[in-house]
Symmetry: D2
Subunit: 369 residues, 4 copies
């Protein structure tokens, strides 16, 4: 219940601190028979890895994953998949100072209040390294989605005030942009802005959009188990996320019903479709067959190299200047994390959704066994 386990059927149990021996995840509830090797996981870990651009911490971590269990002769066995990434580049001495005070915008104070003390080295469990377990678990979820022909793609739509122009956006641009913006012009302007922020010893936030394609309609459970509610929880649980919206999101609150309602129509394949997608692919908490669209707002990195007012453990107001290695913007690296959380949420709801109709259950059990 301490909150490091996610999922109802497809469960991931993550562990590890920034400056402990490593970080990892145990996946329980992965079906048998999926081809899985370390490279399947590594490619997603590489996308969230620091040290790739100047906008990320220069801390260099190999972040090499080792699969310890649950795979036999190249295929998942249905039993728990344990994965570990050893920490290698730790400079704990950078952090001894912060043991004595609370960094603004960080979880130092709340960890101390909750637990009575904390592992202050690099934020301990509130470090961005915690997301390695999410991405590794998400990589397994994505193998499942691959087999179900469901695609997940996230990218950056804004950094600070710089937003992409949807007319100039192309999915192919995402990996061409060092900050994963699918509009390369906006990307360039955002990079300039980031350099400015770095020069000013400041940081920036941004927005990530995530699109899920290929979902069958009817996934998600009415009332508390809605798909959008699950996605909101999954994505809001990522550090630094302060807002989540589906489809038109906050803009929908300003629209009229006549505009916001998506008309149903018969699509080219004869299926029921919607002729617009203000709903972002979810109606009544269930997928409606259109692409699912969500956006997450990330606050600016709290670690800035300016002087800041804070309080130390002796209850004195002090002025501090944080040292260490920190990203001026977390958003580009967080793209992989948002995708991972979306994958975990979707797989879990797909699995839950298998028991919604008696006729399908009968067919499953009476023809398959």
């Amino acid at each position: 219940m301490a909150g490091s386990i996610y999922g109802d059927i497809f469960k991931v149990s993550t562990w590890g601190e920034s400056h402990g021996k490593g970080v990892g995840v145990v996946v329980d509830g992965c079906p048998a028979g999926i081809c899985l090797c370390e490279e399947d996981v590594q490619k997603f870990l590489d996308r969230r890895k620091p040290g790739e651009t100047k906008y990320a911490t220069p801390r260099k971590e190999a972040d090499e994953v080792e699969i310890l269990s649950g795979v036999f002769e190249g295929r998942t066995t249905g039993t728990p998949i344990s994965m570990i990434v050893r920490n290698t580049s730790q400079r704990s001495q950078d952090y001894t100072e912060i043991a004595s005070y609370y960094r603004p915008g960080h979880a130092d104070f709340t960890f101390d209040e909750k637990y009575g003390f904390r592992d202050y080295r690099g934020g301990g469990r509130s470090s961005a390294r915690e997301t390695i377990g999410r991405v590794a678990g998400g990589a397994v979820a994505r193998k499942i989605l691959d087999e179900l022909q469901i695609e997940i793609c996230a990218y950056v739509t804004s950094i600070g005030e710089i937003e992409i122009d949807r007319a100039k956006m192309s999915i192919d641009n995402i990996e061409k942009s060092p900050i994963r913006m699918p509009d390369l012009e906006a990307s360039e302007r955002a990079e300039e802005f980031l350099c400015e922020q770095m020069r000013g010893h400041d940081s920036a936030g941004g927005v990530i959009e995530c699109v899920i394609k290929g979902m069958p309609a009817g996934i998600g459970e009415p009332v508390f188990g809605k798909l959008d509610a699950a996605l909101a929880q999954a994505v809001m649980s990522v550090g630094a996320v302060k807002g989540v919206e589906i489809g038109d999101g906050f803009a929908a609150a300003k629209a009229s019903g006549s505009y916001n309602n998506d008309p149903f129509c018969i699509g080219p394949t004869g299926n029921v479709e919607k002729s617009s997608n203000h709903a972002g692919g979810i109606l009544g908490g269930m997928s409606d067959g259109s692409p699912i669209i969500l956006r997450a707002a990330f606050k600016p990195t709290p670690s800035i190299f300016r002087e800041q007012q804070t309080v130390n453990k002796s209850g004195e107001q002090i002025c501090v200047q944080i040292k260490g290695r920190h990203d001026p913007v977390i958003v580009p690296r967080a793209v992989a994390v948002v995708e991972a959380m979306a994958a975990l949420a979707v797989v879990d709801k797909m699995f839950v959704g298998m028991t919604s109709r008696m006729d399908r259950i009968v067919k499953f059990y009476r023809s398959d066994t």
Copy 2:
């Protein structure tokens, strides 16, 4: 798993359709010894009741709650509290027509896809009447919060494009405004706007803000069990919500770190406080002692009395005009629902949070028993 149960320790299990025999909730995990009577629940149900203003459906429902179990001699016994509200004003004949087609913006299509058929009368389980169970369960949660001196207050900050002016806002105004806007000038303008929308056979959405005061610091579990993630899930699970944000939310994504970081200081009582609250009372997923602030974006009511394009079950594109009794705006009535969901999320996390420190557990068990 079908999604009508909420909570890990303080659990509510809701049930009921718009046009069935009634709606209700079973609360499992309520501590013993709380004074509870039907009036404690009724007062919150009355806040979400339709038929109170011209901006709500004229369907008149008594919505009288009956407590069936779990209370003895005026106090909760620690065993399940079952509550029921019988449906009384049902005009199912209004709905027979919609059995044959999918209303735009509604869950008709997704219900059919998920379950193979649906209770089409009044939306069945996707009706706003479903929220009665939430509000009744939330009322019990609020009795717990009362004893812990934690307050929850929600109100409408915008309807369509009309937003409150924070300088003119007063909590005392909320119940003076027929649409629960704490700025009475904005409220008047919003009412005019709503009348206009009604005349145009259209509808409106809006934003609800919810403030939680008195939370001790350290509530919420790191990683997936974060307090903000739980609140996002809880509130996004309410029908028509398309976005949730905490503190500065999406605006934080545009800010610089130097602005967004809340400095810590020593408050007048000698406690650690924050001198601003961009974080909305949550750092690292745990309460930080400042008021918790969240906002939810509601889409405009999908039931509008205009002609709309849609598809019927025979796969034909048709033009329909919805009949029945519908709110032109759901937001004012949803205030009670948002408060209820916040209460449910907070109580559950408070209960989970009791096991975070061994010294406190020892003190609990070795002195109390």
Copy 3:
């Protein structure tokens, strides 16, 4: 978490006290499309109803179930099924005396210790009436098992020292015996024994055996989610059960491996079968295709009309003689409860088991939607 909700996917949430307004259950996670009416539930409630024979409490309860939600046009909709049985025959005055002391063998003392006070009328939530919710929920589970051609049948194998002779046992005898013993000779002797116990103001326990036929192999999850572990939990949660065993159970602890191992063979239909069934149909926590066999030991009814030593709330040792209406033996009525719990456990594990193989999941989603 207070323990009145059972199941991971197919969830039942029971509520109600002996002398409150009623008892009931909410079933969440029932698939859509199952024919369900009150008679489907009533017939199982009738099997556990008191007042049928002289070996059961003369309290007469109609125990009529009302379905409040989740069924539309005779079929389950996939949304929560709420069921209620109103209490009608309550003589609370019988119980006012026991408010002041702890009945031996009852939960009076432990309820007081846990909650600080208790609903003392008829045992409150620890009354046998609590099992109505189980049986009603189990009735829905059995409709699912019917469609999957899985049968559950329980009966009494012993009362006190009187055991059935397996050579004389016939399933057809169960309902012919007033105490549900499938060997009518043993049944008669057990009845005599019960009359004796009643004359001596004493009570008796016994053993119930439950057989589950038609389960596909491979149901149950390795390690903690084993099918036998789930059945043990489900059945041990029934009041008065003090032991549970699978297959040869405690006798297996005395056997040699060469005797206890069931050889595999090819059955008449060409399937893999076992030529004996010491394992009781479960190997490694998963069903093996043979009938599942479990036995539950019930202690004698603690309510006896003899003088007993106990303690009152003022801390005095006193001598008491219990009044009220009580069964001299609970076992025959508990047959329906054991069947219900077995059904709930099996359905839940069948549903969980649908995600064990990727090939089946792909087939489910890519051909059905």
Copy 4:
């Protein structure tokens, strides 16, 4: 949901196969502030380690545990504790043969049915090595119980037909007996019996009794969350367990109520006590302050070196003789596993039990924070 996660609040997530890279566990929900080092865990692992006596497999494993996370400066931090034991002594070649057929009494057939294939090396996830994760997780639970002054002690009461004489039993004898029998005379006879079984290429089962002392009264949740139900599930989930009983267990089914009811009395310290303990310390599913007593029946080890009838994957009936390294009796080593499972169940219920009374919750939060 695949069943390798145990607990509602204090959760353990185990992983690992017999012949994979290792086995381990992640503990989520451990309170902060507990002194914990590898030695605290190692001492319990050593108790279940093979190769200690001639009655256990000669496979020599160091079984050295490494703590990877969740501990800082010698104390638990409240975040997940990941522990790993690397496999070192693997002779997979012993197992290639069994890939082709189903060993009687083993989970080979059911694994294949469930997952379509299996990791056949040493039983994969159904190996006794799986219990290392349980024991390591249980070791953390026991640190918690130490602080709450709750003791757990298990021992062997019978091997085959040889039972201990309770008059000659002493807890001090347990570790003096190579098979953990607290009556050394019975232990000697049981050893002779085991030698005989080994000579006959056969195996034996037995019964383990577990006593839990120091529990406050009122732990366990009425209805499905009963303490005895939780213990039954926990212990039945251990491989080879075929029966579980509490207190007098199956013998209670033969007793009269007048014998089986434990009278309440005032103990020497002025507390309410019971003058006998047929109930085994649990009334109505809640601890009653007396020692909790449970017994688990273990079947004989299925791996025997005799010829056995079985079936291979081509559907042929064959005669096989199993090779490899196997314990003639698993019971003595399982003592540590039963204790671990009892510890996990008890800690989880203790944590759940903290929210049963509002007055205690108020005291917890209003005085401590």
